[in-house]
Symmetry: C2
Subunit: 371 residues, 2 copies
């Protein structure tokens, strides 16, 4: 464990990255792999003879591609023991002289020179979970030459509404669990002479938090989407600051699709992200490569999407417009986990010909954790 | 989080005890509950007018029983936020004046007086996982009056051999996983130009560790037992020291049962524990109450048993005696997890009439983690 990483952060966050099993999960994500591969290989002039930094190299894969693309030198920094495996892999692929693996946190790593390009795969669920971009910012501001380029260079966060039976399922699971609790109260009283019912509201709160207020990894089929996704946020990763990502607060407006969809209620908000590899203003990519984690009929990337369940459903009969605010902050006890608050209201957007004012209906707000 | 508990220990260990959901798992374990309940209620003279300390009170259940049994006063110490729930439960059960809940680590807690009895439920898998008895020792040596009594007062660890298909199943799962790896190597080479085969032995080692070298929670049916269990270790908890539990090393001798059993190989060593509530020499319990976690046809306690898989099986055709040494030490990076090493050899114990010397066959040794 690098000294500047806290024990708790190492135990909670870094630890799993030390397993090849977990690195393999990422290396098997074809959308992810293809995007990074193409970003490097379809933009050779961005890598040829350039000095490259791979922030969090893991198995070393991105560093290897950069070296294969003709980089002058690649610095591959990795906090966990995985660095040892990366070193071995790099040697076996004949790139020992081109890549220097440094086992350290990027915050603490010393490079012998500044770099032209930073490549990193730092994205977490709904883009910002894991807060690893913090470390990429540190790397960029400390080690990137003016006019250098970030790979990826841009990111967006999107929000939508989906139909899903899971919201109801969750409610049922919770109710079942609360029934078990009632039985438990009786048993404990009868057999062991202690009345635990004083803790019922605490238990309910805990269960509600678990079942209803924790967002969930989902693989949404496009047919579940009830509206066109709304782009909440766009980041230029060449310039984004810690302030930009630490807390986000954005307004949104979702318009339910017409037709058959109209009959369906929405059981969840859904969030995901896109990034693209476009280089920087001074060093634009020849071929801009996108990577999306949006709902896909062929199945999700390993990031899936995040579902924020709503119960009762958001019914289209209350109006075809859902507008509001999404705020995301970090969990106080663990900066790598998130709290999301969505406040929304529904409105009817009338057809143009009758020209009625919009009617606003019930206002709601809810909090979720991204665990 | 109490200040003297490290962040990592809090994140890895204490955290889950902060959930009622987890406390409930323990409160629903009828064997556990009945044993502690009877230990208190069937030994009223040990609790009446006594000052009691409950180390790690959790929901407060043991403190409540002690107070109901007529304790003069109970100090209930709990490191996590669960202390708040315990306080509420105690109040609702009308015992506010009899029990003082202290939210602190026991190492740091200040009691206004010394105590006659310490009650605590500190046992982990195979008795010592979690290393919580360390804290009970601290409490005992700091707060117990001479001649006081520990509840529980004695513990044993037992070892046996079992027949199980799981060992083979694990081998097959591992082989399957290694086949997936081979496919992954090909894909990565073909699609992304990187040969990952240099990491195959590392991946194999990781998978072997996961599938074969990690002990597992099991609910053994008595019919699986291939020999009479061997008591590895006995602890008098009134006097046991940190040294006694930090590292253990014990010899064992297991004799395979005759008859049909003889035809079966053993797929695993199995370990479990028993405790009993017998009080101390100065204050013996009137009614000694046992709590066993041994294989039970009615199903296991929440501790189950720990299976240490062996492949290939230990075959009875190599002799009906399995003797050896079991050593258990703590994991270097986390004192609450264990490493178990068993070295064994097989021998034939001949019938008395032919009087042959014992023949020793292959010697083996293997390490497992208790995670
Ligand atoms: N501050 C930091 N310093 C160094 N490494 C870090 C870091 N934060 C995260 N990491 C590492 O970054 C990696 C992110 S996962 C991506 C791995 C690899 N680049 C790939 O694309 O397959 C993990 O291995 C993690 O251990
Ligand atoms: N050093 C320590 N100081 C205070 N509490 C501790 C502790 N080590 C463990 N604990 C607490 O001890 C409890 C063990 S579980 C047993 C809970 C309860 N006595 C019951 O029998 O149901 C947990 O709640 C844990 O948080």
């Amino acid at each position: 464990k690098p000294k500047d990483i806290s024990e708790a952060d190492f135990a909670n966050y870094f630890c799993t990255y030390g397993y090849l099993y977990h690195q393999k999960d990422m290396l098997e994500d074809q959308d992810r792999m293809t995007a990074y591969y193409n970003a490097v290989k379809m933009n050779p002039s961005q890598f040829e003879d350039k000095v490259v930094l791979d922030v969090g190299t893991g198995s070393g894969i991105l560093a290897i591609w950069a070296a294969q693309a003709g980089a002058k030198h690649v610095y591959a920094v990795e906090a966990t023991f995985m660095a040892t495996h990366a070193r071995k892999l790099i040697e076996a692929n004949g790139l020992k002289d081109k890549i220097t693996v440094i086992q350290a946190s990027i915050e603490d790593a010393e490079l012998p020179e500044k770099v032209d390009v930073i490549i990193s795969e730092w994205m977490g669920y709904f883009l910002l979970r894991e807060s690893m971009f913090d470390s990429v910012i540190v790397a960029r501001d400390k080690w990137m030459k003016p006019g250098g380029a970030m790979y990826p260079s841009h990111a967006t966060m999107s929000l939508s509404l989906i139909k899903t039976h899971q919201a109801l399922k969750k409610v049922q699971d919770m109710q079942e669990s609360l029934q078990v609790w009632d039985g438990f109260i009786e048993t404990t009283k009868e057999n062991y002479g202690v009345d635990m019912s004083a803790l019922t509201s605490e238990y309910e709160a805990e269960q509600e938090d678990f079942f209803m207020n924790t967002s969930q990894w989902v693989d949404i089929h496009p047919s579940q989407e009830l509206c066109a996704p709304f782009v909440l946020k766009e980041f230029d990763l060449n310039t984004a600051t810690l302030e930009d990502i630490e807390k986000i607060s954005c307004e949104f407006k979702l318009k339910m699709l017409g037709g058959a969809m109209q009959q369906q209620g929405a059981g969840a908000f859904a969030g995901w992200f896109d990034v693209k590899f476009a280089g920087s203003k001074e060093n634009p990519a020849e071929n801009v490569v996108p990577l999306t984690t949006a709902p896909n009929a062929n199945g999700a990337t390993h990031w899936g999407q995040q579902a924020f369940y709503v119960h009762p459903e958001i019914s289209t009969s209350n109006g075809n417009i859902v507008r509001g605010t999404l705020q995301m902050v970090r969990k106080k006890t663990n900066k790598r986990l998130m709290e999301v608050k969505i406040s929304w209201e529904q409105a009817k957007e009338e057809g143009e010909k009758d020209g009625h004012a919009k009617t606003t209906l019930a206002q709601k707000a809810k909090m979720w954790h991204i665990e």
